[in-house]
């Protein structure tokens, strides 16, 4: 009796162990390949965080977009070289003379993963779903007055005011994906996906998402029979798995490992400057940081080279504005140097003594914690006593939202158009202007730039605004980090991108 109870317990455990996690049980190896032959095995990618949900319109998690990039399509896509926009589901587009009406010509013969044909109604449905439900990407369609299908393959977008960056707004990333009409009613989009992309969602289980090649894909790929995303949060584990061939690709690479990986012949590693930027910001409502001279003192007090070296081990470019060199929107403006003497003078002139600064950072982004050490040392030299406040990200955001901080450090990721880099952060009523910077002239310039359709004039307006933002130290810009990714030598055709989009459409295995 007693023995049998024990046996029953063990049996129950074995049973549970065998049942659960079975969602990942689909073996995609050997299944038919993609549109252009395919069949070249399953590529296994180790990503560092678990995707939260797969609804492209609702998630904000980078990990989710790593997967969604391969499953969904948008109207247009950014070219990884110069970030001009290229055709994807839309093949051509034109604007009316008043720039308030955009007409998109759609690709013909495209099929969703459920077999239904893609047409204009799907675009109208997708964008209206975002607007009507106030989903996470709704702010991108704020300028839209109406979207309608002119015919099966033509979509017309009416705007409240000209939006020269409309292509960027609808094409930056897969947050603006096109779903089949009615998809949200027929599917649980958090766990299911119905796209037009090169891969279809096959199975999900804790820590793993499996995709199979879309045989009806309209583009040239895919050339592998599937992709499996595995969550491996410990970098040592990810890199060991890459070396032993257990995974083919990873971006879970601590910057201090780059040099040793470059010498490792069993691994291909590449870096490219990203469009992300990291910055420090002070609370304009809290003395002494309401004083422009105090903020300027901080800007002169920082040793940006040392901060960047400590935070990223050299895998970053120092920059005193947000947009990286190489972008057509880059503005070469760097008024500050590391000058503690000047900083002390400025502080003295402002009449500030014994300045205290609570610097809020988060272990969600360890580079902010590391950089904070240097910032503290730099500012101590100048006469500002920094106390580093490490918070978990939930508390961090809470404090930021309520304005309960002196200063913080964080980054903005994945912007392409200058509107995304500057507008919501530095206009007086900007929804992300947590520092409460309000300069009427800057706001005017940014608002003009947002609707200016002549690209050269638009650049000129942004340059003027950025100069004011940097001079007023609304943000103290620090650096643009590199994108760092590594893959096995038998992976070919992969392109590393500055916007961190991870696309396996053209990848081949065993080449």
């Amino acid at each position: 009796m007693r023995t049998s109870r024990l046996v029953a317990l063990v049996a129950a455990v074995m049973f549970a162990a065998s049942c659960s996690g079975g969602g990942g049980g689909v073996d995609v190896d050997g299944q038919g390949g993609g549109g252009s032959g395919g069949g070249g095995g399953t590529l296994i990618a180790a990503i560092s965080a678990e995707p939260d949900k797969l609804d492209p319109h609702a998630t904000t998690a980078y990990a989710s977009f790593q997967v969604l990039e391969n499953v969904y399509d948008t109207l247009v896509v950014p070219n990884p070289e110069d970030f001009s926009f290229e055709p994807s589901l839309a093949t051509e587009w034109s604007t009316s003379s008043d720039e308030r009406t955009w007409t998109f010509q759609l690709r013909e013969g495209v099929k969703f993963h459920d077999g239904s044909a893609f047409d204009a109604a799907d675009v109208v449905y997708s964008f209206n779903r975002i607007i009507d439900n106030d989903l996470a990407t709704a702010f991108r369609l704020e300028a839209v007055r109406d979207i309608r299908a002119q015919d099966r393959n033509t979509v017309v977008v009416e705007l409240k005011q000209p939006a020269p960056n409309l292509l960027s707004l609808v094409g930056d990333y897969k947050g603006m994906s096109i779903l089949p009409e009615g998809a949200a009613d027929e599917h649980n989009l958090n766990t299911e996906a119905v796209g037009t992309g090169p891969f279809e969602l096959a199975a999900t289980s804790p820590g793993s998402i499996e995709l199979t090649a879309n045989k009806n894909y309209w583009g040239e790929g895919p050339f592998v029979s599937g992709v499996e995303f595995r969550v491996v949060s410990e970098p040592t584990t990810a890199l060991t798995q890459l070396s032993t061939g257990e995974v083919h690709w990873t971006d879970n690479i601590p910057p201090q490992q780059i040099t040793s990986l470059e010498d490792d012949e069993s691994v291909t590693i590449e870096t490219v400057p990203s469009v992300d930027y990291w910055y420090m910001s002070m609370n304009f409502e809290r003395p002494p940081f309401d004083d422009p001279q105090v903020r300027e003192a901080v800007a002169y007090g920082l040793d940006r080279e040392a901060i960047t070296e400590t935070a990223k081990f050299g895998a970053a470019e120092v920059n005193q504005t947000a947009i990286p060199e190489g972008s057509r929107w880059y503005y070469d403006y760097a008024p500050y140097s590391h000058d503690p003497e000047r900083a002390r003078q400025l502080l003295q002139q402002s009449g500030t003594s014994n300045a205290q600064m609570g610097l809020m950072v988060t272990d969600e982004y360890p580079e902010t914690v590391q950089a904070a050490q240097v910032i503290k040392a730099n500012l101590a030299e100048v006469g500002i006593n920094v106390s580093i406040q490490v918070e978990d990200f939930a508390t961090w955001l809470d404090r930021q939202g309520r304005g309960e901080y002196d200063a913080f450090m964080l980054g903005w990721l994945g912007n392409i158009d200058p509107f995304g880099f500057y507008h919501a952060q530095h206009t007086c009523s900007g929804s992300n202007n947590y520092q409460n910077y309000c300069d009427q002239q800057t706001t005017r310039l940014l608002e003009q730039a947002a609707t200016e359709t002549d690209e050269d004039q638009r650049k000129e307006l942004y340059d003027q605004a950025v100069k004011r933002i940097v001079d007023d130290n609304s943000y103290i810009y620090l650096y643009n980090p590199d994108v760092v990714q590594a893959w096995a030598p038998d992976v070919s055709g992969y392109q590393i991108r500055p916007d961190r989009a991870i696309n396996f459409e053209t990848v081949k295995l065993g080449g």
Partner: protein, 314 residues
């Protein structure tokens, strides 16, 4: 006996109810807003309000509690804020990984602790005893993540004989399941085993000093029989208690080891839930952990009666 089990079960229900109130209150007291977090830094007031309403967070806390506990009573623990999946599904998907690791680790722990503890007690103050003390001290002191990484580098990379992390369900191949289980189970088991070794040693020492042991020896029993029949059996009761506590602790997830070996168990789920302030998942997970503790305590108590006939629950 049956009456005892019923009584204990009723008590457990009361305790679980109390836990549910405390967990709910604590989870909502923690600073941080799940909706803000879901939106990240790109904050838009309209989207924020819409999401809050959809998640039911605009309701008074009392209403939220009764909504939650009402559904929980019929087995519905709600839907994750983070992933939009049912909490019960999220837990069930990870239960196998956690049970495998907890059971594997406790077996490793016992395999280490029982012989080591026994030898060090019987051969007290001998080199064997000192060896056992050093080993168990080391096992407790070495951080799990460090030992895990060392094991991965040694067996996964240099010797290349074991997979460096990942979980394979038993149903997908018992061999693979075992291979993947070995490293994490040893990592966790060494720590638990080190703690257990000390308990085995001290309770065996205590039993050795008892009158009944002296009597057994006095009546001429061979030392082996004395140990087996009188010492070990009596020493087992406290060891079973501690093993039970260890097992319950392991069942509530070993986050650090789960991270190192990308082992998707309940610990990682709970950690993620804390980080993203995913109230439904966190509440569900803590409730489950409380249930594990109650269940194992009950099993341990019943095991006492088997090990020691003097204990009776009738």
């Amino acid at each position: 006996m049956a009456g005892y089990v019923v009584r204990r079960t009723l008590q457990a229900v009361l305790v679980l109810f109390g836990v549910s109130v405390i967990v709910f209150a604590l989870v909502h007291l923690v600073p941080g807003d799940p909706i803000r977090l879901a939106l990240g830094t790109r904050f838009d007031p309209q989207t924020y309000e819409a999401l809050r309403e959809r998640a039911g967070l605009d309701q008074p806390l009392v209403v939220q509690y009764f909504d939650w506990i009402g559904s929980a009573l019929v087995g519905d623990l709600g839907v994750s804020f983070r992933s939009g999946e049912p909490v019960t599904l999220l837990i069930l998907e990870r239960l196998g990984a956690t049970l495998s690791l907890a059971l594997g680790a406790i077996i490793v722990a016992l395999v280490i602790a029982v012989p080591l503890g026994l030898v060090s007690a019987v051969k007290r103050r001998s080199p064997a005893d000192y060896f056992a003390t050093v080993v168990s001290q080391a096992g407790i002191s070495i951080p799990e993540f460090w030992m895990g990484i060392l094991l991965i580098l040694l067996f996964g990379l240099y010797l290349d004989i074991l997979p460096p992390g990942g979980y394979v369900p038993f149903g997908e191949g018992p061999g693979d399941w075992l291979l993947h289980l070995l490293l994490p189970a040893v990592t966790v088991g060494v720590v638990s085993g080190s703690i257990l070794t000390r308990f085995v040693r001290s309770s065996v020492l205590e039993a050795l000093g008892q009158d009944y042991t002296r009597t057994a020896r006095a009546k001429g029993l061979r030392e082996g029989l004395v140990l087996r029949r009188h010492v070990v059996r009596n020493a087992l009761v406290p060891v079973v208690t501690v093993t039970g506590v260890q097992l319950a602790y392991l069942l509530s997830g070993v986050v650090v080891v789960e991270v190192v070996f990308s082992w998707n168990g309940l610990g990682l789920l709970a950690l993620q839930a804390v980080e993203s302030r995913d109230y439904p998942v966190l509440q569900g997970a803590v409730l489950l952990f409380a249930f594990f503790f109650l269940l194992i305590n009950l099993l341990v108590d019943l095991l006492y009666a088997y090990l020691d006939p003097r204990i009776s629950y009738s």
